[in-house]
Symmetry: C2
Subunit: 332 residues, 2 copies
């Protein structure tokens, strides 16, 4: 093509350097960032990559792709109890990338930085042999020794869940099978709510302080409630009981389940919720709930941790439901 | 294919968890690493990505790809004067990845970790729409305030260069045009030396302490001597004079230049050297050279920084050579 797209150095100067607001980023003029350490703080590092056609739809708005790439990483930090500081950005640009795509993508990054108070620290841009991909390494901090792991859950802990679950998984279904909106008689508002939950995760950054102050274990739900609570049980050597009737669901999901009860399985087995599940000692549950409420994060107790081999029991009306049957709901 | 390759969790447990030797990596059982800060140290962060067919040949040995991915990042850290601590690893696996490829790649990472005393901290593995790619974020530290930038060069500084230049660029040429070995009458040993310099960068990690102790500015040569010294001149607002007769070249390159003098251009304009260029105040030059020697890093002075607008003059027998003409040597 007649190529008047910016070259690597121009691209950095025009689009990326304005995002490097922290002095440690050295305005991206060097090959590395140099950042004073945060005294008394531990570092929390996480990395999530997203590729076109796998983690997002190639025709998603560029700013939404940027937002998702940032947010799935911030969600990991929040589940550890960490406050986000900044990130390194790897971009893989396919042969046919356009400057307008890049400009919108960087506007999206800028909006995320403003929302979450973070800076770009550095990164790398390469040509991608195929579609666009993003690799983010996010850096957060927390007071030393307060990091929350998956492995700390103890029998008797109350299991809390922020927000609502299932929306994103159903939103993805709707993207893949638009005709489902008719089958489920969804209102436009409900349909749009569900699709947006898939498009734009809402990392529970404001829950981080309560999590590190009180939780024995925590995880952000990316693989789905059943799988991620299963990870906690495995890492902690405990079992879990979840009361299905206490699962927090949105108005849209409630409406769906009244049409097709099998969609409850989507809430339990579907992924991409990016809500935080935290296991909190019973005696701290009230304080934990109060701190989340003060931080503006909706949350409720959905069950408790128990002794026993790693497994998750889902109870309805006091009776255990066969989880294998619930998993089966995924396939339709 | 009949797929008995490991799934994501098995892949992590079998191949990646053994590389997570630092306790802060949480043995990769969590979605993030939690690392105590290094008191009195600044953090240095860098990110370099490599994609098949762009940064390495798809049929390169997997362990060599792993080594290159680690080393180009460690080279960036060394040029800042930082000691490497660990890295986060992003892997993009194409549809036809094999377990033996992954096993050899991880053995390569293990060898690098042993050589450089670093740990895997975390990462992410995704499906790549096309070829294999690697994204590394490397983390290093240095005593606070000692980080070396590109922008600190001052008139009168001695310009030092470690090792030899041009080998990797000529090694790449030989990979692309094997018949060149005959034209240039290369011995098997020289040919193998040049190809290996391209395949396996040698980051000057042992130079880091001398660099942070003495250099006003430094850079690692990835884009080539002319370009990277040009970056220093631009960032520092100075000019540079390089004596071509002082350029450090290997026996193999010497033999090539005696056959075809135009290949000198390859040394100056070619990339992938991963040597360190450092600008050192004249009064510290002797001490700098002595510390490098004690660290086992060969280096020599090749010129000096001068006043004036950002440009690099190459001198031969005291006369300036037209750099445009030298750049022209690239195209043959």
């Amino acid at each position: 093509m007649g190529d008047n797209r910016p070259g690597e150095f121009e691209l950095i100067a025009k689009y990326l350097a304005p995002l490097a607001t922290d002095p440690g980023s050295l305005a991206l003029t060097d090959d590395a960032a140099v950042i004073p350490s945060w005294p008394g703080q531990d570092l929390v590092l996480t990395k999530d990559m997203l590729a076109a056609g796998i983690h997002f739809f190639p025709d998603d708005p560029p700013a939404a792709i940027a937002a998702k790439a940032i947010r799935v990483n911030l969600s990991d930090l929040a589940a550890k109890g960490a406050e986000p500081k900044g990130y390194l950005l790897g971009l893989g640009l396919p042969g046919d990338w356009t400057e307008s795509f890049l400009a919108e993508f960087c506007q999206g990054l800028k909006a995320e930085q403003d929302t979450f108070g973070i800076s770009l620290y550095g990164g790398d841009t390469i040509r991608s042999p195929d579609g666009f991909f993003v690799s983010i390494t996010a850096i957060g901090t927390l007071p030393e020794g307060t990091g929350v792991r998956r492995s700390g859950a103890k029998p008797g802990d109350a299991i809390f869940l922020t927000g609502t679950i299932g929306d994103a998984a159903l939103g993805l279904k709707l993207r893949l099978k638009p005709e489902l909106a008719g089958t489920l008689q969804l209102s436009d508002a409900d349909r749009s709510h569900l699709e947006n939950r898939y498009l734009l995760p809402r990392p529970r950054v404001k829950a981080a302080a309560a999590v590190r102050n009180h939780a024995n274990a925590a995880v952000d739900l990316s693989d789905g409630l059943a799988a991620d609570l299963g990870h906690i049980c495995e890492a902690s050597g405990v079992s879990a009981r979840v009361d299905i009737e206490k699962l927090p669901i949105s108005k849209a999901i409630f409406s769906v389940i009244t049409k097709d009860a099998a969609e409850l399985g989507t809430c339990i087995a579907g992924g991409d919720d990016y809500e935080i599940l935290a296991c909190v000692p019973a005696e701290r549950a009230e304080q934990f709930a109060a701190e989340l409420k003060a931080a503006g994060v909706p949350a409720r107790q959905i069950g408790e941790i128990a002794e026993g081999e790693a497994k998750v029991d889902f109870l309805q009306g006091g009776r255990a439901i066969d989880f294998a049957a619930i998993s089966g709901f995924k396939h339709f």
